[in-house]
Assembly symmetry: C2
Amino acid sequence: MKVGIDAMGGDYAPLEAVKGACLAKSAFPVVELVLFGRKEDILSIAGAEGIDASVFTIIDTPEVIEMAEHPVKALVAKPQSSLSVGFQYLATHKIDAFLSAGNTGAMLVGSLQFLKTVEGLDRPCLYTGIPRIDSNPGLLLDVGANADCKPEHLSKFAILGSLLSSMMYKNNNPKVGLLNIGEESEKGNLLTKATHQLLAQNNSINFVGNVEGRDIFGDHADVIVCDGFTGNVVIKVCEGFYYRLAKRGVQDEYLDKFNFKHYGGSLVLGVNAPVIVGHGITKAETFVKMVELAVQAVDSQLTLSIQQAMKKFVENQSSVS
Amino acid sequence: MKVGIDAMGGDYAPLEAVKGACLAKSAFPVVELVLFGRKEDILSIAGAEGIDASVFTIIDTPEVIEMAEHPVKALVAKPQSSLSVGFQYLATHKIDAFLSAGNTGAMLVGSLQFLKTVEGLDRPCLYTGIPRIDSNPGLLLDVGANADCKPEHLSKFAILGSLLSSMMYKNNNPKVGLLNIGEESEKGNLLTKATHQLLAQNNSINFVGNVEGRDIFGDHADVIVCDGFTGNVVIKVCEGFYYRLAKRGVQDEYLDKFNFKHYGGSLVLGVNAPVIVGHGITKAETFVKMVELAVQAVDSQLTLSIQQAMKKFVENQSSVS
């Protein structure tokens, strides 16, 4: 298995990316790690940090897409960037997965341009794990890839989330909830009212109904769907709440689970190969988590599962209509 | 000044409402408290609790609107309920403000039916105080009165929130932010992108730009506007986060500020008289906070300020177009 790492992506790249790759190599010795970045920089860091760079495959890419660059323009303007070349390798099966803590917008655009969305899906989406006390994290999606969504999108995100929950936490029949402002099916805004009906008819998932904001930390649902605007606001509210308490010195095992460093980024769900985007402030240890997630996605053939599930879903839809 | 209290509203009514009214009478001896409810029940509680019921004006209302009843139907079906009669008193100026911890939907519908929205406004809205570490709470609105909003609504909510911030916290020129998923003006969903433009042109407010979910606990803005769906999700996420940590025994002064009992409900902003809705689980001490808020709204002539501000805003709009 070959996992590609964007060595230039993230606020602390390339230093933390290279250190992370070194840790990941120890954790997953049989995985071939392919680093995309300025070879000179990578070798210089390896030298300074006492890292044996010969354990990596290094693909020298002279250009770098910065965090603040316009995603579409940057990918066009910099075909020799670590991001662009990494995607080219992934699209041509020279690597099995690709990860970066760089420009999230560029990662999404690159995923769409180089890999395309899975047939039957209009858009990919991003998720976040919401810590729960007594069980594995719940998965909230979309959390920002699609600011405006239609009910059909959310119904398909529910399928993606269910497959991911099965892969990550071995949930056989994950409970799917709809983030909403009331428990009753008729509650909500135009989007959630229409989505509730679609989810109730969706045979590919185990829909358990609406989930209110206060219940996302509980066991009501293993997968919670929402539009990317709402999801993004929710995860940032949690991040802000966590951060303020942590800064005040509040110590609590559950609270600490909100520290993003425990999580290895997010797969771009719904494109035709495993792509993982990490937080811009990702450090070495978290790169290991990202590699772990990549290995899991490749090993479990998540992309194939999504392709098959979407095919089946679309066939069912046509036979009904 | 006469403040009306729905003695039958809330999960712990009439007991906690009557006990709360007693505490409020001590705190505000010059305010005449008018209790709407079953007189027999009120007197019986007063007797059992050693409360001198003669300090209240009691309006005997035989019917009760339950928490789960359909708002519109309940008000029509029960004209002799504490809620309906209370609104009649408020609409005919027999009382100066009305408060209830009962059915929020019925309180909103009653506010619209009996009092009407202020001229120039399409809809009233609800707000919540978001605790901040170094300053008074920030005001988030709308938090649930309007699940679907247009940019024009949010622009007007910004005016309501600014006036409220001035009244509650003596902010002369409160900073207004737009809850969004990026700091840059071009970020967001269709609603927030269009709203950003309107807020930037709104001369009645001090617009400071977008505020991300993680920054609602900071000093970026004193007033933050959003659609009622997003706002409702946000306050319930905060409530759930607070509740789980509190239940684990986490003690922190800032965290404790998220306990709703410190806050006296929410004014229904934008109707032609002060109406206050409380949390269903409101207990006696919090009824005192609700009375305090009512007194503040009446004393400061908040309704008049809103009427004048909306008149001016509408005039400015017509002169521009």
